[in-house]
């Protein structure tokens, strides 16, 4: 087991390395970051001076090696437009994205797993047909359109929920003045015992979480259905059935657990879908997280910041896949090397 974790851990490095290399050279195809961000706004001499100070006039390979070295030591540089350390910026906005992702994952699990079980239990019957269609619909609806419809229905016509944002201004201020904030608003609100703030944060979270959660819920639903149907055909389930175990119990007790292993593995792969969806959800609901910020920096042509965020996301994806593989190996001994 120890060897497996070690080997798997070292496999993270080439993945991240390739993406860092890819993103670095793609970004440099356009030109140096300072010209991209400030070109036309500064006089040519000042521009050349800044390029020289930042070292962007050296050979690209030297810059590349330097960048890889910096990334390896956790230094992503400083953003060009607002001059913040990239790591600090990523932590600030990353917590907002983390909060959104956790909320969405909860929705996806709460919706996807029970519905998947129902679909498997009533296979090829009307509920199954309906649920499969629902799953495809979840996939076919772009998150920003789902978000738009929910905004129209719940915020504009019914007036139940706020239109956009992570919290109202008052709550944002209250959260910002806390002593040691985690950055995850509902956690901070609970810790400080501010129930009004918690209610406000919860109301703001519902629509983004539903929007992003339903996208993933469709995938989970199909996954649970296929895997439970697969395990339902196994001999031990047949043996249980012949002893008179009820169909309901067969699905919830016998077929459910073995079906979970592939689900955990695929959940790891879903993290990429979730992050991509988060960028769109954040833009739809003005949820000020990494995705929202990424679009801002892209529009400002701040490629140091963009590069930092993209590399950070690559690390998140690689590490998640690592954790998922280790968990799968812990549950199922056959996976190990």
């Amino acid at each position: 087991m120890g060897t497996y974790i070690l080997i798997r851990f070292f496999l993270i490095i080439p993945t991240i390395f390739i993406l860092v290399t890819l993103v670095f050279f793609l970004m440099r195809v356009i030109g140096d970051p300072i010209t991209a961000a400030q070109g036309g706004r500064l006089p040519p001499e000042a521009l050349a001076q800044r390029i020289h100070d930042a070292g962007y006039d050296r050979p690209i390979l030297v810059q590349y090696l330097e960048y890889v070295g910096q990334v390896a030591t956790g230094n992503f540089g400083t953003t060009i437009t607002d001059r913040r350390p990239v790591v600090e910026m990523i932590i600030t906005f990353g917590t907002a994205t983390l909060e959104l992702a956790i909320n969405a994952l909860i929705v996806a699990l709460l919706v996807g797993i029970p519905l998947g079980l129902i679909a498997a239990y009533r296979r090829d019957k009307a509920p199954d047909a309906f649920l499969r269609f629902f799953a495809i619909l979840c996939y076919a609806t772009p998150v920003f359109f789902a978000g738009l419809l929910m905004k129209l229905a719940f915020s504009v016509w019914l007036g139940w929920l706020p239109v956009a944002g992570r919290a109202s201004t008052r709550t944002e201020l209250a959260m910002g003045s806390l002593a040691a904030p985690t950055g995850i608003y509902w956690l901070d609100a609970l810790r400080s015992g501010n129930m009004a703030a918690f209610g406000d944060v919860a109301a703001h979270s519902v629509l983004p979480a539903l929007t992003l959660g339903l996208l993933t819920a469709g995938v989970f639903l199909r996954l649970v259905r296929t895997n439970v149907i697969g395990t339902l055909g196994k001999d031990y389930v047949e043996a249980g059935r012949s002893r008179g175990v009820s169909n309901y119990r067969l699905v919830t007790k016998h077929a459910y657990k073995p079906a979970l292993i592939p689900i955990i593995t695929v959940m790891g792969l879903q993290i990429a879908l979730l992050l991509g969806g988060a960028v769109l959800t954040e833009s739809t609901f003005e949820w000020k997280g990494l995705g929202y910020q990424l679009v801002q920096y892209l529009n400002a042509r701040d490629f140091v910041a963009v590069q930092g965020i993209v590399v950070m996301l690559a690390v998140i994806v690689a590490v998640t896949n690592f954790i998922v593989d280790v968990v799968a190996a812990l549950i199922d001994p056959r996976v190990r090397y």
Binding site: D124, A140, T141, P142, F144, F145, L149, A272, V310
Partner: protein, 339 residues
């Protein structure tokens, strides 16, 4: 149709074409899904082709003989789906948007199939360090959020926005960067499997060149799964295109109508209760993706005997074409257990 003459066991060519053969082997609910998907996909293609004739106005038209279009006007006889904040006619833009989407899908998927298949064949057939390098790169790209990669690519190629063909090519390349690893993986795996088949060995013994073996013997057999990936990727291509447009890295509104861009503008409208600018292009995306996905899903299910609807091989219901011999065997399994 010549096929019937060559060998009695083969069915006419038309019945062996991907979607048609799938239609013939489907029953009940699966047939319903396939037909729904095909109808939606056909509708999408028809609108895409005939948009210039159906659409009452141009996609970037802001005025007609009666003067400039009003902005944010609710649906009315002159503008049946209303107008946007910029004064565009929503109905016309949705129709023209189908054309943009169709062109991008075709260019993007064609590019990725070409590159992915070529790389997959070479990588799987020759193996070695080239194979290992390509696999690691493909895996790294595959694991990464595809939309982000597409955004980075579109910035690199077009600096974010451009003309009709420039934008289409930029979007297509951005999308195909995401898809090439998928085709690569599938084709590579198939190639490695087929490489060990006796007929490849015998071709080698006869002295066929590597290119001939790859192009003739492996290519034809390895690409059986492509119709499935094509339909699934086509729907993903639409979603990626819309995502790019929504974030503002797609095609400029004056160069082409693009659903994602229109939805971006519609988000602000939604807060003030203006629904028509977002609901129509959004529904167009959903229906198109739904149609393509339903076709892809059905093909997937029908290719897999475990998922294909069947049961009860009722006597006398052996299928209308049971004379067709071994090829028709799967089709003979009729009837699905459905309400």
């Amino acid at each position: 149709m010549n096929a019937t003459k060559v060998s009695g066991r083969k069915q006419p060519l038309i019945y062996r074409l991907p979607v048609i053969s799938h239609f013939r082997s489907s029953v009940g609910l699966q047939r319903g899904m396939l037909v729904t998907g095909m109808v939606l996909a056909a509708l999408f293609l028809l609108v895409a082709v005939f948009a210039p004739w159906i659409a009452p106005y141009g996609f970037a038209q802001l005025s007609d003989a009666a003067g400039p279009f009003p902005t944010q006007q609710p649906p009315s006889p002159a503008h049946i789906w209303g107008t946007t904040v910029g004064g565009y006619d929503v109905y016309s833009r949705v129709l023209w948007g189908a054309q943009t989407a169709a062109v991008v899908i075709i260019v993007a998927v064609a590019m990725s199939i070409f590159l992915g298949v070529a790389l997959g064949l070479v990588s799987g057939y020759f193996g070695g360090w080239l194979d290992r390098t390509l696999v690691v790169i493909a895996d790294a790209i595959y694991a990464f959020p595809s939309l982000l990669l597409a955004i980075v690519m579109s910035i690199v190629i077009s600096h974010g926005q451009s003309s009709f063909w420039g934008g289409i090519v930029a979007c297509s390349i951005s999308i195909s960067v995401v898809f090439v690893p998928q085709y690569f993986r599938v084709i590579r795996a198939e190639t490695i499997r087929l490489k060990a088949e006796p007929y490849v060995e015998s071709a080698k013994v006869v002295g066929a060149s590597s290119i001939r073996i790859m192009g003739r013997h492996i290519f034809k057999n390895a690409t059986r799964t492509l119709p499935l990936i094509f339909t699934l990727n086509a729907s993903e291509a639409i979603l990626t295109l819309a995502g790019l447009g929504f974030l503002g890295f797609g095609i400029e509104p004056t160069s082409a109508a693009e659903w994602g861009y229109d939805l971006n503008k519609a988000i602000a409208d939604a807060s003030s209760g203006i629904w028509w600018t977002g609901v129509y292009p959004g529904t167009a995306i959903v229906l198109t993706v739904l149609g393509l996905t339903l076709v892809g899903e059905s093909i997937n299910d029908l290719n897999d005997p475990r998922l294909r609807g069947r049961k009860k091989a009722v006597a006398g219901k052996g299928g209308p074409d049971s004379t067709a011999g071994t090829q028709a065997a799967p089709e003979a399994e009729a009837e699905v257990r459905l309400p």
